[in-house]
Symmetry: C2
Subunit: 317 residues, 2 copies
Amino acid sequence: MVKVAVVEGDGIGHEVIPVARDILAAVRPDFEFFDVEVGYGLWERTGCACGEETMAELRSADAILFGAITTPPDPDYRSVVLQIRHDLDLYANVRPIQGGDVDIVIVRENTEGLYSGIEWTEPDRACTARVVTRRGSERVARYACTLAKSRRHLTVGNKANVLKSDCLFVEVCMAEAARANVPCTARYIDALCLDVLMHPDRYDVIVTTNIFGDILSDAAAYLVGGLGMLPSANIGERHALFEPVHGSAPDIAGQNIANPIAAIRSAAMLLRHVGDPAAAAAVEEAVRRVVDAGIRTPDLGGTAGTREFGAAVLREV
Amino acid sequence: MVKVAVVEGDGIGHEVIPVARDILAAVRPDFEFFDVEVGYGLWERTGCACGEETMAELRSADAILFGAITTPPDPDYRSVVLQIRHDLDLYANVRPIQGGDVDIVIVRENTEGLYSGIEWTEPDRACTARVVTRRGSERVARYACTLAKSRRHLTVGNKANVLKSDCLFVEVCMAEAARANVPCTARYIDALCLDVLMHPDRYDVIVTTNIFGDILSDAAAYLVGGLGMLPSANIGERHALFEPVHGSAPDIAGQNIANPIAAIRSAAMLLRHVGDPAAAAAVEEAVRRVVDAGIRTPDLGGTAGTREFGAAVLREV
Ligand SMILES: CC(C)[C@H](C(=O)O)[C@@H](O)C(=O)O
Ligand SMILES: CC(C)[C@H](C(=O)O)[C@@H](O)C(=O)O
């Protein structure tokens, strides 16, 4: 039995996640869902966006379906998403950039690098430690190699010409790729960002450190029209969280106009993760058929509401 | 009298820099030029790519016209460009992204951030300190504000939602912009990379920290067809260095086919820097007229050689 924690979060999370959850429930009636409240709303009421109790609930799940969190303009508010990635040790952030002729998967190290949390400030100086460990690099490299093995090849995004911390990262990734017998090339992250845009066909699986992956995945999203439709997976040894790449979009929340495709595709990644690639493919295919039939939310030029789009996908699966 | 140090460097630096220098000499017969050898070639012969004597020569110049350096696959070779930026305290790396409807200037902090050189390695862990100082942020912010004042507005690329070191950077930039009365917005660097690609018209001057500027300027180069034609300036309190953004391109070196436009435009930035905007504009306009007349190097679909293109620009200025 698969236990799925459902975190709607804030804003349009309340609209797109129920749609994705209903589709999951339709293809896998055996899944058990339970809601977990996290985010800005909770923080406003209780002063805590995601406490130990909440973390325990998340830990009890086999997979987490996650919406989006509003980052309030309050310096005391620490990002809940970062806290969860860290506490559940979700070391690989997997972002497929797919659409048209583009088929790239960015695998971003998700727990260290510049997100180490090791910072020291003096009145006139603020520092952050960029930490790259062998173990952290190994596990994300291994994940990327497994993925690349069933695809084509691997590119290691890095800045080893400037950062010693990236010499270690590249060394480990190259070694893992050699061991897995995956063709592998190292590219400097600046040149890589440009080349991915100019020649997306040259890229397949890209593995890189935390903040480079953060930037690269947004830049590459340009190839498929922006962040709107992109799903993502945050994978750990014991836990996994699936979330649309887009944010909580407070400006359009509550109007039943948000595009639920990113959330539905994230649910498909969840299905694949729990070992049901057939159901995952069925959901992805259903989304394609609905879009092809002209049923689209306003951002894609259509008139369908979030719920109506979801209902159409439900009919197809 | 203006003393210009000329560093051809490696590869196509030997071809594009003489062209740019001849054009400078034509518009400013009073300039005094002297050659300085730097780079991989020198390092192979002497084991030192840029020693103290060389640095003293560079320091004696009013401006440096710089080609490109080949980075050899040797871990002991420390980047000469980084050494020069650091030793001459060239704190602002200015990269105009211009062409078609795009008119953006990226001002990148050029001496600190992840390029601090503060690194520590253990067998299974490698760390780099990202250092942001108030003084370092102030001077680059001031430079960007001066530029933005004669243009439209300023955007501060940052990741203050994750990095305390960027809270300082944003705070300082916002304060400098307020003081200079320049409209200013802070944007997260990941979203900024995407939005610059989707809506370049929304951006004017962008100031950001070292490695974010490195990545952003390559990504934004996509808007104008790549790095090939982009000039840059590295500005300090006492020194200034002008270089094409492209590299030494060993694959096409020695064939008289390299496009010298980036080098010529860098020379135009040099002219503007030493207080001759009229000559700078004349050079830029001459390049435009030559390209419009159909005289182009092979990368732009033409048949002109590097030298022939340069000669045509010389006739126009
Ligand atoms: C919201 C922010 C902390 C986060 C990140 O930097 O990882 C976001 O940009 C992302 O990519 O998921
Ligand atoms: C060659 C490299 C060290 C350099 C940098 O990282 O600054 C280059 O990418 C640049 O942008 O000038």
